[in-house]
């Protein structure tokens, strides 16, 4: 029973949210992640809990340093998200959020593939509720697309497990590598959830359509579980370095021209995951520490940024950069927290992004991937540009929008959640050695030396200088009401259009076919009428005798045939 203490409380809490209201529910929501974190703390590293189901040996709980780190991370994300979500009384969302957090924790502690698969699918189902809960037509459609893609990822995982089990004979979830049987199925399943290029649009499509608090939960769990799974099963796969570099590089362009600010953050989420994937691809202990450490920091600062944008959405009902601006006058605290999140994601010294991202960049340099290093440096400058400056600037400064007359400061619970996230971002940034001690592998690394701090500050300040220059000379692309087509165009526009065109062609064929069949039918009918009709040949024997005669003829014929 002790073994299940990290996971079970979330599911119990999910059920309890259905029957409780007000303060009681709030206490349950805040208490659950603490109990779960205590559950992780009470289990020793190396502890496993095994059981067998039919003929399979399952290990639903495996405690090691890697899973523990993610376990604690998800408990922190759950408590921050829950505090943030207290502003609404939507039972459906509270229920789904607890179950979603529980599934994410379950997935990282799963020691076998079948348990992983179950939690993988549970995550897909529970998270989609957070999108549907927005209760708009756009969120309904986006949610369905999201769910379909998540289920496809799950089915690929299941197919991979079947192929793997057939040839290897056990279900333990450890290093797989690309040469193992069924490896590509796993790779693709994890790739979908970690938003590989061309498989990434479910994220940019669905996350901005979720509720204010829903997006905070969504950006914390799904992609990070995928990063965990890749770190465990595909560490050191060189292909991942290049995939990660592409992920860090291309979304920043979309982020610059995107109008919906929460969608800008989803593009920057892909960019951050790109850094982690590069770290996993490098595969040295330093790089892997960087990857999972960055995942840890990212959940908190990306959550913080999503929270601040959620607060803006909550008070104005608007998320398009073109319609926002000047809100610092009405929401000074939210503005401050947003800037803290922006400083963290941009990796300013003394903030969490600096101490985690620099490990990955250093590992890339040490292994001699200079091209990738230049791309990551470019991406790091780009992050500051679109997430560090663009998000706070267009939401809270820029020009005064019509919303500043009605906008109000965010509710207290939102401010508390943002304040706690900010404290964590700064604590990680100021005390990196305590943070590094939590990382799974031993390493000897100091982020704060003159070179690191100076070069990072140069990179950031000159990026800011570029922004100011581009903005003042009106080269910077203005925020416009628009959507930008991306890979999703294939299934949101091309497929429906192709189906429409093809059905058009078939329709034409069908019309011709129908016409011909009809004509054939008519002539057949004509012939039949001639033969059987009222004035036809056979109707000449209309008497009873004629009928009897024909019956006799047919019967005798059949008898004759029978005797033959």
């Amino acid at each position: 029973m002790d073994s299940l203490l990290p996971i079970l409380p979330f599911f119990i809490a999910a059920i309890l949210t259905l029957f409780t209201r007000g303060w009681l529910r709030a206490t349950i929501m805040i208490g659950t992640p603490i109990i779960a974190a205590y559950g992780i703390y009470s289990l020793e590293i190396g502890h496993t809990f095994s059981t067998s189901l039919m003929d399979f040996n399952l290990t639903p709980i495996r405690i090691d340093r890697l899973s523990t780190l993610f376990g604690y991370l998800f408990c922190i994300a759950a408590i921050l998200g829950n505090i943030y979500a207290l502003y609404h009384k939507d039972t459906m969302q509270h229920f789904a959020a607890q179950a979603y957090a529980g599934s994410a924790v379950g997935a990282v502690f799963a020691g076998d593939m079948l348990s992983l698969f179950i939690y993988w699918e549970l995550m897909a189902l529970t998270s989609s509720v957070l999108i549907f809960a927005r209760r708009s037509e756009a969120s309904l459609h986006a949610g369905i697309r999201y769910l379909v893609i998540q289920i496809i990822s799950g089915l690929l995982l299941l197919a991979g497990i079947v192929v793997y089990y057939k040839s290897i004979g056990n279900l333990d979830f450890n290093y797989i590598g690309l040469d193992a049987p069924g490896a590509w199925l796993f790779f693709l399943a994890f790739g979908i959830k970690s938003a590989f290029p061309f498989l990434h649009n479910w994220l940019t499509d669905a996350y901005p359509e979720a509720t204010e608090s829903g997006t905070v939960f969504l950006s914390s769990f799904t992609t990070k579980v995928a990063v965990y799974a890749l770190a465990r099963s595909f560490a050191g796969t060189e292909l991942l370095i290049y995939i990660g570099a592409v992920m860090a590089f291309f979304p920043i362009y979309y982020a610059v021209i995107e109008n919906n600010l929460r969608r800008v953050l989803t593009y920057s989420l892909i960019n951050q995951i790109g850094f982690m994937i590069v770290g996993i691809g490098i595969g040295t202990e330093l790089a892997l520490n960087g990857a999972v450490g960055h995942a840890f920091a990212d959940v908190i600062f990306k959550g913080l940024l999503m929270m601040s944008m959620g607060a803006v959405l909550y008070t104005t009902g608007e998320m398009r950069g073109s319609e926002l601006g000047g809100l610092y006058k009405r929401m000074p605290k939210t503005t401050f927290f947003c800037i803290m999140g922006a400083a963290s994601i941009s990796a300013f010294p003394l903030f969490s992004g600096f101490v985690s991202k620099s490990i990955i960049v250093t590992a890339v340099l040490l292994e001699g991937y200079y091209g990738v290093w230049l791309i990551l440096l470019f991406a790091a400058a780009g992050v500051f540009h679109h997430a560090g400056i663009k998000i706070p600037f267009f939401a809270f400064f820029a020009h005064d929008s019509k919303h500043i007359e009605t906008a109000k400061e965010a509710p207290k619970n939102m401010l508390w959640a943002m304040a706690l996230s900010t404290v964590l971002c700064i604590l990680i940034g100021v005390f990196p050695q305590n943070f590094y001690a939590m990382l799974p592998w031993p390493m000897d690394y100091t982020p704060y030396d003159t070179t690191h701090v100076l070069t990072q500050l140069q990179l950031l300040f000159f990026s800011a200088l570029a922004f100011v220059w581009l903005k003042l000379s009106h080269i910077y692309p203005p925020e416009l009401k628009s959507v930008n087509i991306d890979a999703e165009w294939i299934y949101r526009k091309l497929f429906p259009k192709a189906i429409y065109k093809i059905s058009n062609v078939f329709n034409a064929f069908y019309t011709i076919l129908e016409f011909n069949v009809e004509r054939l039918g008519q002539s057949a009918q004509g012939a039949a009428t001639q033969f059987f009709g009222a004035r036809g040949f056979l109707s000449n024997f209309r008497s009873l005798g004629g009928m009897v005669m024909w019956v006799a003829v047919i019967l005798s014929a059949s008898l004759f045939i029978y005797y033959l």
């Binding site: 470019f378 070179t451 100076l454 500050l457 000159f462 990026s463 080269i475 628009s482 526009k493």
Partner: protein, 114 residues
Amino acid sequence: MNNKKYLFDNPKNVKLLVRALYGSCIVLFTMDLIIHRHTYHPWESFVGFYAIYGFLACVVLVLLARELRKVVMRNEDYYDIKDMSVDNDITKDKNNDQVIEEKIEKRLDERRKS
């Protein structure tokens, strides 16, 4: 609407902020000349490599993003159109670039008036 003046309503404060940024940039660049950095890659030892790279990266990023916009930008309701025979691809009736320029012009005019 209250008439309270906020921090950045005063153009002086904006100017001050921008000047502070210029100042910091100058200080950081000169520090590159004084402090010896340890490097892994020969390019890193160029004076002001990180500063120049950061600046150029952002300029290239924005210029390329502007070009990207010409290719990928569509009306907000692009995906919403249910009737497939209607083509709401705005690039077809008007060059997207022109649309952007027009919108920028309009916005600038508004700003000049106010």
